[in-house]
């Protein structure tokens, strides 16, 4: 999807602002500046940025911190998920007994 198609999804987002977000590395479309191609994941990312900036009123200055923490959080969640998948492959049933032990409050 081209940049003008993306901004058309939002009532209050114009191209210069989205361009700024891309230049700051908050969104990572593929291709060169004049022909950016936004995938589904990038559009979801723009939606996240839009929510943060408009609905949650996160300040311009705070965005890098917020995004960095969010990205680290999701990175950790992906890792944890992979870990649990590996646990399942190694020893089916271990996950359930782990959860049971954790729920007892160790």
């Amino acid at each position: 999807m081209r940049i003008e198609a993306v901004t058309a999804l939002f009532a209050d987002l114009d191209e210069p602002e989205l361009r700024l977000w891309v230049e700051r590395g908050w969104v990572l479309p593929e291709g060169e500046a004049e022909a950016w191609e936004f995938q589904e994941i990038d559009i979801a990312r723009v939606r996240l940025l839009h929510t943060l900036r408009r609905d949650l009123e996160v300040g311009e200055d705070s965005m890098p911190v917020v995004l960095s923490l969010l990205d680290q959080l999701y990175d950790m969640r992906r890792r944890l998920k992979r870990l649990l998948e590996a646990v399942d492959r190694q020893q089916p049933g271990l996950r359930a007994s782990l959860l049971e032990e954790l729920s007892r409050g160790a």
């Binding site: 994941i41 979801a44 990312r45 939606r47 996240l48 999701y74 969640r77 954790l102 729920s103 409050g105």
Partner: protein, 307 residues
């Protein structure tokens, strides 16, 4: 999680108001928490029943729900695409990881398995419930000068973890007073858990001249024999700076003079006079006293009982 309100109440989609009410009453009787103490699952069910009835008994809301404009919780259905979470939780989300991609480093495993996720611990939640524990309180002691305690001040303290904390010392704080700084203690455990408080005990250092009695300030002020006998105007220190004080003629050691409102809060300052003799020899004074007969009080020890 929102359930279909028609199913919750067990009524047909075209049920009229009367049928709705009847269904609601029957279920409410069965699941009301007051009638079912010790059955928390019933309380949950009752909440759902209530919510469903509230939605369906409102003609307007029911119509909007039927048209799909709001969900069963009454929220506006937002015609948005997949959320960021949908993507970010999938492996493809690694595209937006700031540092190294993928893979597991041994220290990651240690982090995770070492309990960094806040599972368990005292009071750990049930499986599925999020563990949220308020952080513990942190205790500190702060020594402040007598004058800072009297006048109030702001002091910056550096905590063991390197954070700094500005502590506002209220005017007139007493020795041993504990200030509670909300949310400045140890961090909470789990998502959204509040931090503990910082409890700062104030130790007030003694002052070489000022003493405190309640909200009053006491200070001993030396005066010369001449000032004591003849009266004088002298400068004395107060917690708020120097002020002039009139010493009436004939004041002796132990005379208390009040400086109104010069204490702490509504208190006063009391100046206790200490008459001092000249440090060197005064032959004229001695000659005068030899020839002098006091008009009053011959023996100041008259009231004292014999030992």
């Amino acid at each position: 999680m929102a359930l279909d309100p028609y199913q919750v109440l067990g009524v047909a989609r075209d049920a009229d108001g009367k049928a709705l009410r009847a269904a609601y009453r029957a279920l409410a009787k069965k699941f009301h928490p007051d009638l079912n103490p010790g059955k928390p699952e019933h309380a949950e069910r009752f909440k759902q029943i209530n919510a469903a009835y509230e939605l369906l008994s409102d003609k307007d809301k029911r119509a909007r729900f039927d048209r799909g404009e709001i969900d069963a919780e009454g929220n506006e259905a937002r015609p948005t695409g997949p959320t960021w979470r949908d993507f970010a939780d999938a492996a493809g989300g690694e595209r937006y990881h700031p540092g190294a991609r993928g893979g597991f480093a041994p220290e990651d495993l240690e982090d995770i398995l070492g309990g960094a996720f806040g599972f368990g611990g005292p009071g750990g939640g049930r499986h599925g419930a999020r563990v949220r524990m308020r952080g513990s309180d942190a205790h500190y002691t702060l020594t402040v000068s007598f004058l800072d305690a009297a006048r109030g001040a702001t002091r910056r303290i550096t905590l063991p973890d390197g954070r700094t904390l500005d502590v506002r010392i209220p005017a007139g704080v007493r020795d041993g007073h504990v200030l509670r700084l909300r949310g400045q203690g140890h961090p909470g455990f789990g998502e959204g858990a509040p931090a503990g408080d910082a409890l700062v005990e104030i130790a007030v250092a003694p002052h070489p001249h000022f003493r405190r009695e309640g909200d009053d300030i006491l200070i001993d002020v030396p005066v010369t024999l001449k000032e004591a006998v003849l009266g004088a105007s002298v400068e004395v220190p107060t917690v708020g700076g120097k002020v002039r004080l009139n010493i009436p003629p004939g004041s002796g050691t132990g005379t208390r003079l009040r400086l109104r409102g010069r204490g702490i809060n509504q208190g006063h300052q009391y100046v206790v006079l200490q008459v001092v003799l000249p440090p060197g020899e005064e032959p004229e004074l001695a000659a005068f006293l030899r020839g002098w007969t006091p008009r009053h009080g011959g023996n100041p020890r008259a009231d004292m009982e014999a030992g």
